[in-house]
Symmetry: D2
Subunit: 297 residues, 4 copies
């Protein structure tokens, strides 16, 4: 609920170029999966968030196969946006159905404070891109209809088309053809996804795409590539798509196992955040000040 000057400052991040699309060098967008991880990303210095489908599903205890309803996802997005006051790009999976479901979802997250949405050219329900081989691409025309429907319903929402062509085993030509079709449909950027462990596919795509629209990448598998490679390739945006989630999983597993074994928390007390850290992150100070301001003394 705070309205302190440093918070208000982020409201000036109005243009996509200010938080999402880099020009001289890529911008970096951090995964969040709930209000807390959104606040932490902000405190770390990030100017924009990726509301990760995998992250949100996992923290809810669902699998990344559209097990969570679209409105549950929208509720999480609202918490991220309100708690962090950062611009949020939402992982909209496939749009949760056809063009009509996609535009209803887009309107819902726009109301809840999202600033952008990304949808991918697969069918509902989807499966996480890093799992198995059952990845079937949507028909290009049908998917373009989903994109146009979102754009018409929410002209102010940044719209990103994510092509899973390379994930599905299609050719680079297919990926490029799809990207051009989605550009015709009116999107603001293209996310090209790859699960190779090097950036070869990405760099190849970017060089042939010639920056018709900003290019967004998700270097989860090809994480060893240095950022200068992306810069040279003209990548606009790098999404760190699941790292806050994965950090929390490792830590919770280690600490839980240790406590279970020790039957005590004294062994881990020094290695975890304090309650005071949490009160500071959530700005309990503002609540105290507000009590001074609004409660009779």
């Amino acid at each position: 609920m705070t309205a302190s000057p440093q918070n208000a400052a982020y409201h000036h991040l109005q243009e996509p170029s200010e938080w999402l699309f880099g020009t001289v060098e890529p911008r970096f967008v951090m995964e969040a999966h709930d209000g807390l991880s959104a606040i932490i990303a902000r405190k770390a210095g990030f100017l924009g968030l990726w509301a990760s489908g995998l992250g949100i599903s996992t923290s809810l205890g669902y699998r990344d196969s559209n097990e969570a309803s679209w409105s549950s996802v929208a509720d999480v997005v609202e918490r991220m946006a309100e708690a962090s006051r950062l611009p949020v790009l939402v992982d909209g999976d496939t749009g949760f159905g056809n063009f009509n479901n996609a535009r209803i979802f887009a309107r819902s997250i726009a109301r809840r404070g999202a600033r952008g949405v990304c949808i991918e050219d697969k069918q509902f329900p989807k499966l996480n891109s890093f799992i198995g081989d059952r990845h079937y691409l949507a028909d290009t025309k049908e998917f373009s209809g989903r994109l146009r429907a979102i754009k018409d319903a929410c002209p102010d929402l940044v719209l990103i088309a994510r092509t899973e062509a390379l994930i599905a085993g299609a050719s680079m030509e297919e990926a490029l053809d799809r990207a051009h079709a989605y550009a015709e449909a009116g999107v603001d950027g293209i996310l090209i996804h790859s699960r190779r462990s090097d950036a070869g596919e990405i760099v190849d795509f970017a060089s042939r795409w010639k920056n018709r629209l900003p290019v967004i990448i998700v270097p989860t598998r090809y994480h060893t590539t240095p950022v200068c490679t992306y810069q040279e390739a003209g990548i606009a945006t790098v999404i760190w798509a699941n790292h806050s989630l994965r950090a929390s999983v490792r830590a919770m597993r280690q600490v839980s196992s240790r406590i279970f074994r020790d039957r005590s928390v004294s062994g881990i007390e020094g290695g975890i955040s304090t309650l005071e850290d949490i009160f500071e992150l959530l700005d309990y100070g503002e609540l105290g000040e507000a009590e001074q301001r609004y409660l009779p003394q």
Copy 2:
């Protein structure tokens, strides 16, 4: 959605003595704040969960002052119970209003799979017990009415009364008087809360209480006390109330800051869980098997 033998086994934890109240020695109950942390607690070996008000609030990006609505809390409880299949004791704060709000909340979480609820003798909206000095106790009779209303509405839900007498600066006699009144109201156990850094108050309470009902403690501040002290004092249950949350906060902060500074994830990749870990935690294997079973081949 899994129904594997080891999951099903937990359905036999029907009696409070099987997951919540220890007799020979205390049982340990682990904090969870979402579906994921609930699964992790289970994998670590815990037989019961504490759906922490602080934890749920924080992960939603709210402060622990009843900023989250009671139905939002109930939705999180549902995810914990379904994802982990563990018995869940829910931190019901003050019951979210009067006796009527309290019983509506209790019925809601019972439907969503909770097995117990704990409410504390303060007024709505509450403030976290570790913050400041504005902790005003509820009238004993009024609070007893809240307890009776829950018990009448949900006779199968384990009902714990938490007295904040010592937190509010009242005497040990007051704490004991309240505990006896709550016992008369029909509760199944007493949670005695202390924010001293040693277990003196707790041990004193337990020795004078003489096990009229099981005693539950939350050793957040007095964490250095060895478990044998609790055992000797006849404590039935020890709640590790916020440690999974605090572990995740430390890890997410460190990793987020490092990624922001490095403009790369390669420095942290080895120190966080893998995607495969996550797929295993969420039992993606079951989904694959189910596709074999239910989809045409």
Copy 3:
């Protein structure tokens, strides 16, 4: 929250034959679309409710094309079940996706108090059966997988398969073949849907089906058929699928227009329910008694 004797009585309606499937004559199940209409159906004497997809969508202000998320539908079902304490058969549309979405939905409504679910052999997102010609049947094997997944996940939930074969213009043989396939998949009853204005199709189906499983019908279009026709045909259940909704629409439109024109409510005051009627329907008396019981006097 009431637990008065007449409410408690309904908890004895445990068997499908007690509220859903008639043997000597059909049972009648009434549409509800929110908590209020559920209470009204109960007061009128009905022993079971149909949580109508059209009704729920419309009252939420959505179209009956899966615009509402499955979790929003589940939330409405919960209000119906809790407010009325009647058994509820839920219109689950197509199951909201594939077998996995269907079983997740089924588990969700089972927790929320539903006693049965009906899904239809079309694809997600669906369109209301009384609109247009774009009704494409699902593959029989794939749909049977959806049914088996629900039955395995929720063995205690009454499972009804609704075939849209006749709506989609397929033959009676196709309808029967599908019904037999769904029976093999383990359903508890078959809903045969028709949009003809006479009951010919329904009677024909029933005579050839020979009561392998109970038959459920929805006489929305063929409403002039006398009930003895259904009885002779051996129909187990008649669903009045949208009549409470349609009654409310007519009344709200008339009253709203009259008030707008008159700039006064005095002309309609005598033709609408009183506040006291509403307080009685919602059992405010129980709240008053509970205040006596649970609040300090």
Copy 4:
């Protein structure tokens, strides 16, 4: 999802004087309790909606004593605003707790499309104003703090203070003193509530208030008063607070009872709306056009 010219027109109702506060004569605001009733109010010609606490509670199957959570109320408000595209003034009851709960609720409904909120000077949980005698007024200073907190958090939301002084049996002077205090706190209008069967109290209040701020009334009990009385008294807004709900209750009860008795719908078929009426209200035509525009042909 429609964006047809007549819908878009309502977006010009930006100023409170255009939909809420009349100057020459009162403006009339119509109760709605869900998306459907909101659409119906719009079609009847109303330019603004009252999201009634009684109406929303009742349709959810809850009693008007804050049994519904604040976030459930906010979800209903969202459906009203999106489905009708009309400006909505939300009945915020007492603000759902203290100043902090009140401002969180206000922010939530503002995101969901509400244009104004009204809160009343009682304590949480409240009881409907037409029931019983247990109506205790909030401390004026404390309530003013709730008002200021909302105004600071949501400066663009029209803020109405409702005084229950006359309902609680306090004097006219007390009502006026409170109204002046709330004006100092920065509200945009005063709702003066009365449960007398004539407009005497209201007219008296207005004459002594001298239009310091717009006055809003709710003529539920004193419904026979002609509108010219309000006009002469300088009333800015008249809320028809529960009439759509009450119309629907009467109609649903009559129709449900008749169907139950007749075991047939043929007797009521002519007296209720048709499915086609519903398809027209919900603008299924737009969906058909959108399918033409967005689906491959």
